[in-house]
Amino acid sequence: MTIAAPTTAKPPRAGAVLESDASSWMSDPYAYFGMSNTRVHSVPRRDAEAVQLAAMNILLEKRRAEIPVLAKFADAQDIRRIASLDDMAPLLFEHNVYKTYPVSLLAKQRYDQLTQWLGRLTTHDVSGVDVSKCKSIDEWLMTLQAATPLDVATSSGTSGTMSFFPKSKRDYTTSVVGFRVQLAQKFGAEPTHGDLHDKLHMLAPSYRDGHTSSGRFPEYFKKVFCLGDEDYLHVAFPHKISSDLMWLAARLRAAAAKGDVTRVDVPEVLLARRAELERMQKDAPGQQSAFIARVAKELTGKRVFAMGTSPMFYDVARRGLAEGARNKFGPGSILMGGGGHKGMVMPEGWQNDCLEFFGLERMLMGYGMTEMNSFSITCEHGHYHLLPWVTLFILDLDTGKPKPRSGTQTGRAGFFDMTHDGTWGGILTGDQITVDWDTPCPCGRTSVAIKPTIQRVSELQGGDDKISCAATPAAQAEALDYLTSFEL
């Protein structure tokens, strides 16, 4: 076992105790730490890594039996047990694996074959689910949602395909409980009764529902933050964003970029919905303005938790300020942006505009992804702190090999999140990150601190001024950006 040199005199836990800790962390990590943010972020790294390794071996054995793709992948590499954290690196899944189905299955509405495909990636049995009556992606995902513990999350890329990540309802709940623990509590203090049990206002400047993780979060926010009270949930667009429309939009974009929209291989029933798509797009600014006005009026002085992507907040703030609206959220309110820039460059001073509009002193940022339950949130020093049950791998961009867990390292991020219920917890991201393994963060948290300089690996490539006559998707992405910036 390669574990960092002991920093305290206390011997590392071992054997059955370790396995029992691992089981608790996997099944209900926040309960294990008494729902305390301070305790979650105070585990010595050495101890956390010992539990992580134990959990990886437990999960590897269990998941091999449940997830056929993992079994095949591990067999091909002849990995049955691992002796160090880095031994797990070859078993992290490329995030692309969640879209390795032929696109025609969607166009031809072969939800039976898609279900079969999904079944090879998830721990839950989907084979018995009757999807024969499904006529759309939405119907398919709702059918799976009703019949299994899954709540499949979608995301769409610029090429017109959609990935399906077999998240479970428990996975979503783990994420959202994590938000509540990490956002509501001040690090260094024990949680107050209100932190744990108050009904809290949640503001999400997006859709009420959908199948992307950002579309689906409000449902879980309502349970965990609003304690089931819809009046405490504030969304900009009161409807569900249809996956079929998102897919159609992505396909049309991709086709337009190729200069031939007539070739879009989309069923007539979907093409007929173009008018609906356009109407929703047209209604959006009005709904957003109404949302801004409502929020400014109703939430002043209240303790509010606002979560969404940075561009969403900036859009609301910019509009709000232009319309002369201002908020003054109450003490203990939190504004957290993050992710989903999708190649968008945020204008200078965008954070100030957000703070001014929402009447807050500080804005937090969250780092996470659909493919991971555990989100990392910035501390007072701007570092994203990993939860102790998440193992970070920093991989060399070229070789894919893990870099040492010491010194300052930059590379492609991979994660193993032991709390994953719906699928395998090992994921390779498209992000380049930097971590200083040796210097503890001055904020006092012992958890691994990721520097704020997170970049898409794809954006790093291409360089300054390299010109090639061979077309690349990066070249086309530029043309597509304007459409992806607004998540339809």
């Binding site: 793709v69 095949k72 992948f73 899944f93 490329e94 995030h95 692309n96 694996v97 879209k99 390795t100 189905y101 032929p102 696109v103 025609s104 079969q116 495909w117 090879r120 890329g157 090429s159 395909t161 190729k258 200069g259 031939d260 070739r263 961009l397 070229d398 894919g400 492609r412 390779l428 498209g430 690996v457 794809s458 790093l460 490539q461 360089g463 300054d464 001024d465 390299k466 010109i467 090639s468 006559c469 061979a470 077309a471 690349t472 998707p473 070249a475 086309q476 530029e478 043309a479």
Partner: protein, 491 residues
């Protein structure tokens, strides 16, 4: 200051290596030095267009004399500038050293006299480049001549020969040529220009070539240079960003000739799969169009539509073809294809993801960054088809010829076809959809060369200004002698 890694500026026969500033070096790229472009900018444009006249004092044959001589001087064994540039290009090129060196060694062949003549004759007609060509028409005599222009070329860096090609195009059209070299090939063209400055510093062809590096997107610089009083045409190669970026300077008097980023595909008909011998030949042909030059060119094949059918027998056939293609790529001679310099990690991620899910795809090779063949099991390309590179090709089984049309769009340059009897039908249908060059599969890189159209346009003709003179014959009655109602004014 160290004299290493210099991208020399060569302005009309004058070599400049002062006021060096550093460029590049991002993400592990080679950092190099080039003369501060902001200090050069005043010297780059020709200024008075009358200065082009010296090129018109030369005959076409005299221009060829110069180019032929230059070709000999570019002999890689003897030319220290070229050797130095080649060494440095190993570090910047997307190609491996062996392939870069191969391109340098081959370069003199581009300057072969008869080769240039055949090309110019086909593309423009030498008599139009040499003088006025008279044609009687509609009671008039029309004289047409192709004049050169003051042109700026934003050259691609995925092949060391592109600077030489540009220089040749400029010389034969009697143009004033400014070449902006790319950061992935900042050395080659300057080495040619230094050779020119040494052997004929005052020759008009030398005097009308300028080579320099500036960072594409340096707006302060570009705003000044990209003006109709400085240049008349901009020829911009590939890179959507670079082409789109240039469009903002386009205005009346400044024309864009865009050689957009392109991709290429191939089509294999049923007839190519009938016997084992044919299957092997087909595989060799695909391997050549994929592997030669390590798939860095726009003409490199990236997807192959195979009319094997999608039933069990068809899938077995295409699976076998896939394995043979992989073997074929691995067997290509080392001066034409090598293990890629750096296998794109994003691509590897995509390929590995498919490997894990073999219901719909079969992946042959690709474990070691050597290249891979992805065989689809349905009639569709992989989701990341546009990113296929580094000797990675996707074979797609189809049942009908119509499905093959999916292979082409307006980004399609070359389509390799086999057997040849499919050519007449396919080239017509595909030309309507955007296909621009049709070759017999396996010949994407060994044909006549860039002798005519490229990317759906004729670059050499486009580089010219087409000037017309009209003289009446005695049959044409002057307007002032005509009665009312006698004259039809038509365009």
């Amino acid at each position: 200051m160290s004299t290493k890694n210099i991208s020399y500026a060569v302005i009309r026969g004058k070599v400049i290596d002062t006021d060096l500033v550093e460029f590049g070096g991002r993400g592990g790229d080679l950092a190099f030095q080039a003369p501060d472009p902001h200090k050069l900018i005043g010297q780059l444009p020709l200024g008075n267009p009358s200065k082009l006249d010296d090129l018109y004092q030369l005959s076409f044959e005299e221009i060829l004399d110069y180019l032929e001589e230059l070709g000999k001087l570019l002999d890689f064994q003897k030319n220290a500038y070229m050797q130095e540039a080649c060494e440095l290009s190993y570090l910047t090129s997307p190609k491996t050293p062996r392939l870069v060196r191969g391109a340098y060694v081959s370069m003199p062949a581009m300057f072969e006299r008869e080769r240039i003549k055949r090309w110019c004759e086909l593309s423009v007609g030498i008599r139009y480049l040499e003088g006025w060509v008279e044609t009687p028409i509609n009671d008039s005599i029309v004289s047409i001549r192709a004049y050169g222009s003051r042109a700026l070329h934003i050259v691609a860096g995925n092949g060391p020969m592109l600077g030489a090609l540009t220089l040749l195009r400029g010389a034969v059209t009697r143009s004033d040529t400014i070449i902006k070299v790319p950061s992935n090939d900042p050395f080659t063209t300057a080495a040619i220009a230094r050779t020119m400055a040494d052997f004929a510093p005052d020759h008009p062809v030398t005097k009308h070539l300028t080579v320099a590096y500036w960072r594409g997107g340096d707006e302060k610089f570009e705003q000044k240079l990209y003006q109709p009083h400085n240049i008349e045409k901009i020829m911009a190669w590939g890179g959507m960003a670079s082409v789109k970026h240039v469009t903002k300077y386009i205005q009346p008097g400044l024309e864009l000739i865009s050689l957009d980023p392109k991709r290429s595909a191939s089509v294999v008909g049923e007839g190519a799969l009938q016997t084992d011998a044919l299957l092997r030949e087909t595989a060799s042909r695909i391997a050549c169009d994929v592997g030669v030059g390590n798939q860095t060119a726009c003409s490199s094949c990236r997807v192959v539509y195979v009319m094997s059918g999608t039933d069990k027998a068809g899938l077995e056939k295409i699976s076998r073809l896939g394995k043979l293609v992989y073997e074929g790529i691995m067997k290509l001679p080392g001066d034409l294809s090598t293990k890629p310099k750096r296998y794109d990690p994003q691509l590897k991620a995509n390929v590995d993801a498919l490997r894990m899910n073999d219901d719909w795809y079969e992946v042959v090779g690709g474990q070691d960054g050597e290249g891979a063949v992805i065989v689809s099991h349905t009639a569709e390309a992989v989701e990341f088809a546009e990113a296929l590179a580094d000797r990675t090709v996707n074979l797609i089984p189809v049942d009908t010829l119509d499905e093959v049309l999916a292979a082409v769009d307006s980004y399609t340059q070359t389509v390799g076809i086999f057997p040849d009897d499919l050519m007449p039908v396919l080239r017509h249908k595909m030309a309507l959809h955007g296909g621009q060059r049709f070759v017999s599969l396996g010949y994407a890189f060994t044909g006549p060369g860039l002798v005519g159209p490229q990317d759906g346009i004729e670059p050499l003709r486009r580089m010219c200004k087409w000037i017309v003179t009209e003289r009446p014959t005695s049959k044409l009655k002057p307007i002032w002698e005509r009665a009312e109602g006698e004259t039809a004014l038509v365009a």
